[in-house]
């Protein structure tokens, strides 16, 4: 059973397709993210679901029933806004009670529910505080509580962590996921930050220019991207342009612009000899011990970007590609210095080729 289904949703502003023929289903109780760069149409999609925009075409169903034509205040989807949109003229308790008041619940019920939801989000006793007295993370949780107290079928969250600072954002990622499993509500989460999407979601849709490029579990997107855009957008990766010199089954030989040749899995079955492609190799799949696979590149260590567990080696190859390498940098098994000659290698299956867009 799906809490939310979108079928061929399209939204045009004038001639511009902000959302273009998007379909997806969100199963009950799951955490679904939409990940895409700024301006790709994420917010527009969410606003259609919430009822603030009318789709140009397509259908939206909540718990199986179409909500096209239902005004926003009659839909059982609640929304956490990017800048939270907590009401500044009400205190915390009133903010949370607002929706209940709109439903004309009686006073004692409201008080009880507000109290209980504040406890569930771990902020008992803040009801009397002003919104401005809370920290960023606390406000975040109040915004969620304000929606959850209404027991919506679906909770929409539009980049809710965007305004928070680094450390808090890290913490809130985990916390949000916990809240979701606690409330056991369907979450539809929008973000342009891949780590948020990957960490929290059961399923992620990668969106680009109004369209969904791929929908799948985080691991699937990371390990089996279906397009160059997904490969480049989800997770860090090296990315070099090249041209296919030979195709052999699911693999191709690709001549890089710098002159080297690598073997890559075809991301796109339709690719033929001579096609311009981009090659994607993740830093953590590249090894300095030349044993791992058929792909080898020689180069000189350009610099070491020390960043604890995320340290990187920058290796400049003869063909002038700059290669980011993550593996073996931190385990002191291999001590390299700036200027050293090294040989890089990776397995063929870790190297993907996709057609260059356009």
């Amino acid at each position: 059973m799906y809490d939310l289904e979108c079928q061929s949703l399209t939204k045009r502003f004038g001639a511009y397709h902000a959302v273009n023929n998007v379909s997806f289903d969100v199963p009950r109780g799951s955490f679904f993210s939409i990940l895409g760069p700024s301006g790709c149409g994420k917010t527009t999609l969410m606003r259609m679901i919430a009822g603030f925009e009318n789709p140009t075409s397509g259908d939206i169903r909540i718990k199986g029933a179409s909500v096209i034509g239902t005004p926003p205040n009659k839909r059982s989807v609640k929304m956490v806004f990017q800048h939270l949109a907590l009401f500044p003229m009400m205190n915390v308790g009133e903010n949370i009670a607002y929706g209940l008041r709109c439903q004309k619940e009686n006073k004692t019920d409201i008080a009880r529910k507000v109290k209980s939801v504040l406890e569930r989000i771990g902020l008992p006793g803040v009801a009397e505080k002003q919104v401005s007295q809370l920290s960023g993370g606390q406000r975040q949780r109040i915004a969620i509580a304000r929606c959850m107290v209404l027991e919506p079928d679906v909770l929409l969250l539009d980049e809710p962590l965007g305004a928070l600072d680094l450390k808090l954002r890290e913490r809130m990622k985990v916390e949000l996921k916990l809240l979701q499993s606690q409330f056991n509500t369907t979450f539809l989460y929008i973000t342009h930050d891949q780590s948020e999407a990957l960490i929290m979601s059961d399923n992620v849709a990668v969106m680009n220019a109004g369209q969904f490029e791929q929908i799948g579990a985080p691991q699937e997107l990371y390990n089996n991207p279906k397009s160059g855009f997904v490969a480049g957008f989800v997770g860090d990766t090296n990315r070099w342009p090249g041209r296919i010199s030979a195709v052999n089954g699911g693999e191709a030989r690709v001549a890089l612009e710098g002159g080297h040749e690598v073997v890559a899995k075809l991301g796109d079955p339709g690719l033929r000899e001579g096609a311009k492609v981009e090659i994607f190799v993740r830093p953590e799949t590249i090894s300095l011990t030349p044993s791992l696979g058929a792909n080898r590149l020689r180069g000189r260590v350009d610099s070491l970007l020390f960043n604890g567990a995320n340290s990187r080696l920058l290796v400049r190859t003869g063909g002038d590609e700059l290669v980011e390498v993550a593996q073996g940098v931190m385990d002191k098994t291999l001590a390299v210095r700036q200027g050293d000659e090294v040989e890089l290698s990776w397995r063929n299956e870790h190297c993907l080729a996709f057609a260059v867009a356009g």
Binding site: P72, H83, L86, M90, C102, R146
Partner: protein
């Protein structure tokens, strides 16, 4: 010269004009008026001190009736200006698209810069017995003879609302402009009807603007002279006119000063009351440009 000395010197230099202005043009003159209001005339060129002028005010119903009338009509005008201006401000700030917004705001402002006198004069030309409206109504056959639309309270109120409504709209536009649409969206999303959203979100949000606009409008109305005089004609009766009369027709500066003090105290009281009731402060509303 050390840095803190320099900074003290510039502070002093910045303070001087402010202090001179406040002291010489605002505070001392007000004290002067207060002082004058306590001077009682005994005979030609002969004065003593006392509250006689205030007693005279209380003893003469014409005076305090005028003050009360001025006050309640000003309150009425303020309320009407709020009701007339709010939808307009809301339209400009929230409904109109970006381009027409500027144009509409400009259209609102143009009458603001034309003097009160011209505006009142415009109403006279429009409403007089031989004016456009009377003429138009006759042509349309609604009325048979010419009708006089001037010289009554309704006209005065219409004219006053006209002269002040823009001072209501400007602060309202600037507060409503600052209201993020996502607040409204959140209001609907959480199940609020249009009315609920308006009452619980829009109005409270606009409150500083409403209060600022109301204070300015109330003070302007209570202190206005031309519009009630010119449009009210024989029935004007406005407290500023009383002050003017005392100074000019009666050359009685003492009682004129008394009236001035009373007007200031009374209107300040009303404003203070308004601020108290809405929980706002002068600095946070009127000063917020």
């Amino acid at each position: 010269m050390s840095r803190s000395d320099a900074s003290k010197l510039t502070l002093f230099l910045l303070f001087t004009p402010f202090v001179l202005w406040m002291l010489l043009l605002i505070i001392l003159p007000q004290i002067g008026v207060g002082y004058l209001s306590l001077r009682e005339k005994v005979g030609p060129g002969d004065y003593t001190f006392g509250l006689g002028n205030y007693a005279d005010f209380l003893g003469e119903p014409v005076y305090w009736n005028t003050l009360l009338r001025t006050a309640w009509m000003s309150v009425l005008v303020t309320i009407l200006a709020l009701f007339a201006g709010f939808p307009v401000a809301y339209y400009i700030a929230k409904v109109a698209n970006q381009r027409s917004r500027a144009a509409l705001f400009l259209m609102c402002l143009v009458p603001l810069w034309v003097s009160d006198l011209v505006r009142a004069f415009g109403w006279i030309v429009l409403l007089r017995e031989t004016g456009l409206i009377s003429g138009a109504l006759q042509d349309l056959g609604v009325i048979r003879g010419p009708i006089e639309l001037l010289y009554n309270d309704i006209t005065v109120i219409i004219g006053l609302v006209y002269t002040v409504v823009l001072f209501m709209i400007v602060p309202l536009v600037s507060t409503l402009d600052g209201m993020d649409n996502s607040l409204l969206e959140a209001g609907y999303n959480l199940g609020g009807s249009r009315f609920t959203v308006f009452r619980k979100i829009v109005v409270p949000y606009a409150m500083p603007g409403i209060v600022a606009g109301s204070i300015i409008v109330f003070m302007l109305t209570a202190g206005s002279y031309l519009t009630p005089i010119l449009l009210g004609g024989k029935n004007s009766m406005w407290f500023t006119e009383q002050i003017y009369e005392q100074f000019v027709t009666r050359y009685n500066w003492e009682s004129g000063a008394t009236f001035g003090v009373l007007l200031l105290v009374f209107t300040s009281f009303v404003v203070w009351l308004g601020l108290r009731l809405t929980g706002q402060s002068l600095a946070s509303t009127v000063a917020k440009d």
